[in-house]
Amino acid sequence: MKKLFIILLATLIASFGFAQEKETFLPRMGLGFVPQYTISGGMRFDIDRSISKTSNQWLIISPQVYMLSGSRYGHDFKELSGVGLDVKHKIYLKPNTMKPLGFYAEYGIMFQYFSITENKQYTVPVSENGVPYYEVVEGDLNTKLYKVGGNFHLGYQWLLGDKVYFDIYTGAGIRISHNNINEGFDTWYNNSWIDYGYSGTLLDGGFRIGFYF
């Protein structure tokens, strides 16, 4: 593992340090889709943009939208909607080429916002003949959930021709989430690392498909 890390690091340094004759790659933009986000009721599109003419580095901007109702990750949503944005710096490790293929490393930051409405039972104060009680009632409750974090990935990307790519990646990340209200909710949406309100470290991974133009 240590050997692997040294090789990756050396390759990374080499990709920055030495400008030499490189295999060219004309497209400067890519558009991709990350299918596994549909599991969470979302769609993520990746916009890849080459940011260097001398080294194989790309900026990946990944807007997301979420729309879901029903059960997911142990919650029963009346309605979940949300948006997200990942921004990553991606560095291909294969030397002497500007083609976005082979092993790569990427790191970046992410932000997600969710508006969650659930039909819940919750406790409210009531008064009966001047005597105060607390009763459990049923109704719609809404909470706003904000999540920020960062990722570091290692991955491998294949190119079909010079247009279509298939990319797998895995790595680690950190998430910090916050609900603006939790009264009446019996969850922080933090049941597991794939949950909408997860806070903590996680193993991240997935695949994406797309094309360059």
Partner: protein, 170 residues
Amino acid sequence: MKKNLFSVLFTLLCIGTGILLSSSEPVVYGDYTPVYMERSEMENAVKIEAAQPLHKTGKIYLYGQYILVNEKYKGIHVIDNSNPEAPINLAFLHIDGCIDMAMKDNILYADNAIDLIALKTTDNFASIQVTDRIVNIFPETESPDGYWSPYYINQFRPDNGILVAWKKKS
């Protein structure tokens, strides 16, 4: 080397994306919901009130000329039965969480939710006075249809809240 790296990536990928975890979140069904009170409010709410119509009655207790009828979780109706041909609904003893009572020598013993209280009464139930209270002697009552476990009861419990009643959903 490349093969090993692929194996590592593939394994991590499986870990990273293949698992959909689910966990249970409290979902409470049933026809009843709990009613809570703060302890101080519950203790202060024990009082004699004007006669009230009988709704959801429970135990019936005969004491001299009086018939005591429990109004579930609310208190006790006092009925003057000195003329059995025309009983008089005399008063209502407001005791939250009350489902049982007994009486001897003008002392009424009743459950005030999880407490046992002793009430000294005048001969005609014109006044009452709590003379003794043994706190936390009874367990909280279970939901009539058995759907609420102690975990869920605590989930909805306000600070210092004591379960005093079960209310049927409308």
